[in-house]
Amino acid sequence: MKKADIILIAGCFAAVLILAIAFMARHDTGSVADIYCDGTLLYQIELNQTDATGQAQYYLILFEEQEEQGIDVHIMHSEEYPELPVGRSYNLLSVGEGTVAMEAADCRDQICVRHKPVSADRENIICLPHRLVVEIYADKDDEMKKRKEGRTDGSEEKSDEPLDGVVG
C-alpha cells in the first residue's frame, strides 16, 4: 500500500461522513408516499391517515402488459394482507405509523424487498425490474416533485420492455 491509497480511502470515508451528516440534518418525517412507474406519478398515500387506526394498510400494485401501450398498473388497497397474485407481476407495500415497507414482490432481483422500511423525507424504495419507485415526501407540494410532474406531463411514451414474472 502507498500513501496515496490511504489518502484515497480516508477521503472516501470523509465524503461519506459529510454527506451522511448533511442528509441527517434535514431528516424530516414524511407525510406522503408517492408511487411512480416509468417516472409517472400513479398514486399518493397519505401517511398520517393510517395512524388513526394504528393498523397497517396494504397496497398491492399489479402490473398488466397491454397489447399496444406498454404497461397497465392497478393499485388495490386493503386492510389485511392480501392474497398474492399468481402469474401477474406485483409489488406489495405496507403502510403503518408513517412508515412504508416493501412486503413482497415477484421481481427477479428481490432488491426492493430487502430495502429497509422508509419514513423520512425523500427516502425511496426502487424496484428496477418493474421500473417502480416509492418515494417519501415531507411536503405534499414539494418543489422537486412539481418539477418532476411537470416534466412527465408532456411525454407519454411508454416502454415496451417486458416485466419479468408476467406469464402469457
Partner: protein
Amino acid sequence: MKRTVELGFFLALALILSYVEALIPFSFGIPGIKLGLPNLIVVLLLCRNHSGDGSLGRHDIQAALGVNILRIVLSGFLFSNLYTIWYALSGALLSFAAMLIGRRMRCFSVVGVSVLGGVFHNIGQILVAMAVVETIYVGYYVPFLIAAGTVTGAALGIVAMELIPYLKRHEADRERRQ
C-alpha cells in the same frame, strides 16, 4: 496461443466469482451495490506488472478490458438476462475507466486502484438505475454507495496485493523453463 489460454483461465475465474457473487445478498435494498468479486480478476490483470517503471502495457489493458466485458456478457446469459447485461456493463465500464486512470497515475498501489473501481462501479450502476426509473433523489444513496465501494474495493485490493507475488513467481518459473 499461450496468452489465449491464460485469458481463458482468468475469464473462467471471473465467471466463477460472478456466480458466487450472485449467491450472496449484499444489496441492502439499494440497486447498484455489489461486492464486485469478479473485479478482483480485472484488478489483477491491470496491476500484475506493477514493478519497475510502473508503465502499463497495451496487452494488459486489452486483457483486462476483454475479460471485464466478456465476463459480464457471459454471466448475463448464464445467470440472468439481456437487460441486466446493459445495466452491469455501464457500471463496469465506468469502474474500468476509473481504475485505468488510477493505474496510470502511478501514485496508487493495487489497493487504491481497486477502491476506485469499487466506488465508481456502484456510482455507475445507480446512475443507470436513475435513468431507468427516471428522476429520483440520487443523493440519498450516494454515501452508502461510496462507503460500500470503498470497503469492498479495499478488501479485494488487499487480496489482489497478496496474490500478485504468486502470479509473478509463476510467470518467472515459466520463463525459466522455456
